[in-house]
Structures are given as structure tokens and as C-alpha cells.
């Protein structure tokens, strides 16, 4: 049962344009969502997060949007840079489970072309 889904395995974007990565979830008990970025031969690194009490969180070029009614979140990267090319994972945590188990999506490989 895939509770967190990233339906696009890959995305290609031109440098300077916007990248939009999508994530859907099925469990309404999730209360915290995170995005991680992974380069080859490295572990995932934290990018940005959002609590379920918010619908938007920004950090520089990265913005995460949360639509609870649709059980959907998205990561916007503006402007995209070649160094952003990596695999992006969304992850979710159930309420009352602080610091505990994260449930990850399958990942989306972003390629930003110069």
C-alpha cells in the first residue's frame, strides 16, 4: 500500500524556468511533510518541510504547497539551476510520531538543462 506517491519518475526543465514536483498521499493522519534531495552516491539531504496547519512554506528558491483537501503537495523551484538536478523525494509523518518513521514516495528525477 503506497501511502505516498510521486507519479512522475522524471522531469526535465530548462535552466531559469520553474520546476514543479508533485506528490500525493492517501493517509489523512499525516501531519508533517518533507522534501529531500538526493545526488548519486550520497544520502538524501533535507530541503524543506511543511506542517499540515499551513498551506505554503518558502525558503529561497524553494516553495512547498500543501492542499489537504486534495491530499496533494508540490515543490516549486524558481529559477531552476543545473545544480538542482537530482532525485527528489517527498516524505510524510503521521501525527503523534515526532522524530519517528517517515514514509517516502518513489522519487522524481529532475534534470535541469543549461
Amino acid at each position: 500500500d503506497q501511502q505516498v506517491k510521486q507519479n512522475s519518475p522524471s522531469l526535465s526543465v530548462q535552466e531559469g524556468r520553474i520546476s514543479i514536483l508533485n506528490c500525493d498521499y492517501t493517509n489523512s493522519m499525516f501531519d508533517y511533510f518533507l522534501w529531500y534531495k538526493k545526488y548519486p552516491a550520497e544520502g538524501p539531504t533535507f530541503l524543506i518541510s511543511i506542517s499540515s496547519i499551513k498551506d505554503k512554506n518558502e525558503d529561497g528558491r524553494f516553495t512547498v504547497f500543501l492542499n489537504k483537501s486534495a491530499k496533494h503537495l508540490s515543490l516549486h523551484i524558481v529559477p531552476s539551476q543545473p545544480g538542482d538536478s537530482a532525485v527528489y523525494f517527498c516524505a510524510a509523518r503521521k501525527g503523534g510520531n515526532q522524530g519517528g518513521k517517515l514514509i517516502f514516495g518513489q522519487g522524481t528525477e529532475l534534470s535541469v538543462k543549461p
Binding site: P9, G43, Q98, G99, K101, I103, F104
Partner: protein, 117 residues
């Protein structure tokens, strides 16, 4: 400030063997979680250790076991290896704070790539 370190980086085993993977958490962190990432998939939670005890466990068989030492480092043991155990094994650390996790942002190591032949 050393991040999360894992050893070894690569490992080749045959079916039926046993393997031990090691992890040292980021300085200041006291909680270690282990994840398995199969090819083309996202990381899947195996278990989490805090205060030398297993606190949470994912949907993995008893062949997967772990340990946490007083210095917060951790080991993952897998017995009776199967071909399907071939994956990248990731260790992540965090700080549990004063009995309530204060850091949601797990810090991951680079992983151990396990191949079972």
C-alpha cells in the same frame, strides 16, 4: 562537524549469509533510524533506536535486527540473506530532545550498498 557516517560503503554477500552494517550519528544526535532503499524506490523505514532500545519498527521480518550502543552508534544486522535484500541501506540520525523529538529533519548517511548473490 562530522555528519552521519556509515560503513562499509559496499558489500557483497551470498544467499543465507549474515551481514552487519554500522552507523555513527551526527554529533549531538541521539536517535538512529535505518531505511532500506531498493532500486527505483524511496527509502522504507526498518526501525529506530533511542536510548539503546528499538522504539519503532517498520514492516520488516525478524531477520532484520539492530543495536544501539551507549555512544549512540548503531548496527543493523540481517540474517539468512535473500536476493531481495539487495538494496541501499541508509542510516539517519536525529535528536530526540527532552523525550519529545525536536528535529524532524533526519540527517542521512551516504548508505551501504548491499548486493546479495
Amino acid at each position: 562537524d562530522a555528519g552521519v557516517t556509515q560503513s562499509p560503503t559496499h558489500l557483497i554477500k551470498t544467499r543465507g549469509q549474515q551481514v552487519t552494517l554500522r552507523c555513527s550519528p551526527k554529533s549531538g544526535h541521539d536517535t538512529v533510524s535505518w531505511y532500506q532503499q531498493a532500486l527505483g524506490q524511496g527509502p522504507q523505514f526498518i526501525f529506530q533506536y533511542y536510548e539503546e532500545e528499538e522504539r519503532q519498527r517498520g514492516n520488516f521480518p525478524d531477520r532484520f535486527s539492530g543495536h544501539q550502543f551507549p555512544n549512540y552508534s548503531s548496527e543493523l544486522n540481517v540474517n539468512a540473506l535473500l536476493l531481495g535484500d539487495s538494496a541501499l541501506y541508509l542510516c539517519a540520525s536525529s535528536s530526540f530532545g527532552t523525550g519529545r523529538a525536536t528535529n524532524e529533519k533526519l540527517f542521512f548517511g551516504s548508505g551501504t550498498q548491499l548486493s546479495v548473490l
